[in-house]
Amino acid sequence: MTVFLDIFTAAAVSAGAFFFLAGSVGLLRFPDTLSRLHALTKADNVGLGLVILGLLPGAGGLLAALKLVVVWLLVLLASAMVSQMIARVARRGGSPL
């Protein structure tokens, strides 16, 4: 059983890391602010979600696992809000400083 859980953890965390990598490549390679934001937020949200999903079996208890999920939800909220606000500034044609 633990072997399967370990394999699950390794697979999910690796998949999460791949999304982070893809998001970072997008951030560096995409031409304008909006598409860079798109690459970053989409990839990082899924990436972090997969990393946390992979860490759940090893969290050591329901409470710790719930805390990890709450961390993911808070990051989702923050990154959705911040990217909206950056996108709004970018659409108005300004640069955030």
Partner: protein, 315 residues
Amino acid sequence: MTVASALALVLALLLVSIAAWTVVTRRTFAAVEGFVAYGLLLSIAWVALNAIDVALTEAAIGAGLTGVLLIGAAARLRTTEAALSAERPGAPLRGLAAAASAAVAGAIAIGVLSLPDPAPTLAPAVAEHLPSIGLGNAVTAVLLAYRGIDTLLESIVVVFALIGVWSLAPDHLWGGYPGPRQYADPNGILAYLARLLPPIGIIVGLYIFWVGADLPGGKFQGATILAAMWLLAVMAGLADAPPISRTWLRILLVAGPLLFIAIGFAGALTAGAVLAYPDGYAKLMIKVIEAALVPTLTLTLALLVAGAPERTAPR
């Protein structure tokens, strides 16, 4: 090379490169970005060293609060930045500054490298006497029992910093509202976040303060989160900072350090030394001091970000 040491090496290289970037970049805002990223990476390094308390403080105060203050400063300096860059100091002066910085860094490096191995430590003594204080977190014990004087001065220094910011106010605005009034779309995304996040953030902030007795956490980290929640409501235009002439505000700003000083001097009578706690009451006293410091620190940190008075107070 093990995975852990490879990660540590990558982290150290990243830290040094971001530090170098922060120094050499010519744009103020880019330097601030570098500084914030540096602070967040540094807190990961502290986690890797098992110093969770320091990591929390670095992330909250070093990267978060200082980052916000520096972004505010960079925004204010933007109009004059071109003029400032034009009057760049000459090569001799810059060389001298570089030499002085390198000498300081070198002296610190020599100091660290010449420490005996293993470094002298009081950690076993602290761990041995931890049960007599009743705390589970050795860092809190050091901060409030063994080195209480440092923490006391620290809590006073931040109030002085706020007085320094306030003193930038022109005479006719003295006692007025700090910073500009913030307006945001009441149905917009910022106002939504400012309604959604504070209930969660307030609980997390209070929890981090409370848990500091036994686990990593404490008043500074908790107060930073509470201050951030308040600032979020202010920035979304849902709340306004009070005029700095309010009596309740000024009482709260000094209440924490004053209670700390009072309990400290009471220790001279009850426990035989200033800042000592009577037997069996150490944990209680420490939590009372921390609880009194939380509102003081929350207000001070938030008002530091809010800035000098810019609007007249109501009659």
